[in-house]
Subunit: 321 residues, 2 copies
C-alpha cells in the first residue's frame, strides 16, 4: 500500500455532499471552519458502526457507507433537527480502492439527499470501524428531547417495526436468491430511512422523541425514564409490514420482533392527545406511516404495561452482554 | 460483563469537564444541544487514536486518555481556537473498571484544565480505539489556516522537537527504571502539551500554522503545499531539549529526530518578518519557547531547502506504508 492517509482523505472524501452555506473551510486543514448561525441551536450526535455488531460481516461497502450515515441522521431526526454536516473516522484493515469507492457512493447517496457535507475526519489502519459525528440545527427551544413526555400523552411510532430483525435473520441464513418481500426486509436492514422530514415536522408537536436502534422496548424505556413516566402499549397496534407478515405469519412472533429487536430507526414519540390532527397532517405531508400505539401513564414499578403480557422484561439489545 | 453501554456512558463520562455556557443538553439524549455563539466561528477536528500506531501497547490508561484529548486539542491550537467541547467514540475489548477509571482521570485532567466538556459519544465492543471530535471557537476570519504563508515570512516552531520520538524508543526498549531526563522524554511522548495559549495569541499574527504530529518535515510540507510556497530551514536552529541532548549527544542524530519523527504536537507557524516583537511577547506571556527556524521562499521543485542537505526527501510518518 503506497497511499498515505492524506491521499485517502483527499481522493475519496473531500467532495462528499453539498456545501452548506455555513462552511468556510472543509477537509484538509487541522480543523474545519463553520460559521455559526445566530438563530439556531447546534445538535451533535456520534455513532460507531462495527462489523458483526452493527451490520453482518458480508454487508456491501455501499450499504455500510449508507447505513453508517443513516443511523447518525436518525439521531438528528429524533431531535427534530435539520442535518448540516458530518465528520468521519474510518479505520481500515487495508487500502482497497473498490471498497472505498463503493463506501463513498453509499455515503454520498444519503449526503446528497439530505444536503449535508463531509467536513473532515481521520483515516487509520485497523479492524474496520466507522465513526460518524453528525451536526444539525434546530430553532431555539424546539429540539425534541427524550424527557418531555407527559402523563396523558399519546404514544406514536413511524413506519413499521421488526423488518430489520427479520432481514438480519435472512442474511445470516444466506440464500442464492431472495423472494421480493425478503429482499424488502434485507433492504430495511441495510438502508434504513432516517425520518428527517417527520422529525422536523414534529418540532412543536411532539413532547418527547427517540429513534429505535436497539428495539422498541429498550428505547421506549429510555424515553420513559428520562420523562419520569410509564406507558401502556397496545401490542395489537404495533405496525407490521406486509413483507414481515409474509415471512412470519404468526402474530405473536411478529410482535416479539417489533418489541425486542432493533435496527429499524423509526421514531417513537409522544404528543398531547389534542394534537392527533396535526399528526395526521404530518402523515399526509411526508407520506410516512404514523401509528398510535399506546398512552403515557404515571410512573410506577411497571415501566411499560402490555395488553398481552404484564410488563416489559427485556431491555433491548445490549452490546456488552 | 453485565453493564450495558448506556451505563458505561452514564457512569464514566457524564460529568467530564466543565459545562460551557453554551451547552443546553449534554450526554444522554439522541444528540447534545449547544447554543451557537453568534459572533464566533466553529472549529471542528477529529482524530482517532489506536494502540501500536498512536501510542505503544503498554501505555497506561491515564496516559491514553490524556494523550487522546491532547492531540485533538493540538488541532484546535493550530487553528488559534478556544476549545469548548468534545465527543468520544470508545471501542473497548472488555469492560475493565480500573482501566475506565484511569482513562477517565487522564481525559478529565485536560478537560478541566482547558474548560471543555464531554457532551456525548458512543461506546462499542471491539479492539481498543479512541476517536475524539473536538470543537472550538474563534472570532470571524481569525482562525489560522495552513494556506496563508507568504514569501518572505519567517518560520517558527514552539517548544522542542524530537523528544517524543526518543521517548518512544525508550518505551520500546523497556527498562526497570529510567533516569530523570529519560522520564522527561517519555512524558513528552505520553502527555504532550497542546499549545492552546500560543495558538490563541497567534490569531492576528501568524499567516499559517500546523501542529507537528507526523514530523516537522512532513507536516511543514502540508503547510507549504497549502500555501503554494517553499521554505529554507536552518537545521542549526532546530530546538532540541536538554533531555534529548543528554540521551543522544550527536547533533546530526538529534536533527534527524527533530525533522522526521512525530508526536511532538508543537506548533509550526509563519509570520511576517515585522512581527518578531509580537512573537517575543507571546513567548513572555505564555512561557512557551518559540524558535525562529527558517524562511518562506518562492515555490520551486525543492519544497524544503536545508542548510545541511539539499532537500527534504522523507515526508514524515505514514500510517499506510
Amino acid at each position: 500500500m503506497s497511499e498515505s492517509e492524506f491521499d485517502i482523505i483527499r481522493k475519496y472524501f473531500t467532495d462528499i455532499g453539498q456545501t452548506p452555506e455555513a462552511l468556510i473551510l472543509g477537509v484538509g486543514d487541522d480543523a474545519a471552519i463553520i460559521s455559526s448561525p445566530a438563530d439556531q441551536e447546534l445538535l451533535i450526535a456520534m455513532d460507531t458502526f462495527n462489523p458483526g455488531v452493527h451490520f453482518p460481516e458480508p454487508t456491501s461497502a455501499y450499504d455500510i457507507g449508507y447505513k453508517a450515515l443513516a443511523v447518525n441522521l436518525s439521531d438528528i431526526a429524533a431531535m427534530g433537527g435539520e442535518p448540516k454536516w458530518f465528520t468521519l473516522a474510518l479505520a481500515l484493515p487495508e487500502l482497497e480502492h473498490n471498497w472505498l469507492q463503493e463506501f463513498r457512493r453509499g455515503l454520498s447517496a444519503l449526503a446528497d439527499r439530505y444536503h449535508l457535507k463531509l467536513i473532515g475526519g481521520d483515516t487509520t489502519k485497523g479492524p474496520l470501524s466507522i465513526t460518524i459525528q453528525i451536526a444539525g440545527y434546530a430553532p431555539p427551544h424546539q429540539a425534541i428531547k427524550r424527557s418531555g413526555a407527559q402523563v396523558g400523552d399519546k404514544l406514536y411510532i413511524t413506519g413499521t417495526l421488526g423488518d430489520a430483525a427479520v432481514g438480519l435473520e435472512l442474511c445470516q441464513q444466506g440464500a442464492d436468491k431472495y423472494l421480493s418481500y425478503q429482499q424488502d426486509l434485507i433492504d430495511r436492514l441495510n438502508r434504513p430511512t432516517p425520518r428527517i422530514e417527520v422529525g422536523r415536522a414534529l418540532r412543536t408537536i411532539a413532547t418527547a422523541c427517540i429513534d429505535i436502534s436497539d428495539g422498541l422496548a429498550g428505547d421506549l424505556k429510555h424515553l420513559l425514564v428520562a420523562s419520569q413516566v410509564g406507558a401502556k402499549l397496545e401490542t395489537g397496534s404495533l405496525p407490521i409490514s406486509r413483507s414481515l407478515q409474509q415471512q412470519i405469519p404468526v402474530r405473536d412472533e411478529q410482535i416479539q420482533k417489533a418489541l425486542y429487536y432493533g435496527d429499524d430507526y423509526e421514531l417513537c414519540f409522544t404528543a398531547p392527545a389534542n394534537r392527533a390532527d396535526d399528526i395526521a397532517a404530518i402523515h399526509l405531508q411526508t407520506g410516512c406511516q404514523i401509528s398510535l400505539i399506546g398512552d403515557i401513564t404515571p410512573q410506577s414499578t411497571v415501566l411499560i404495561e402490555l395488553d398481552s403480557e404484564n410488563k416489559i422484561t427485556n431491555e433491548g439489545f445490549n452490546h456488552f452482554t
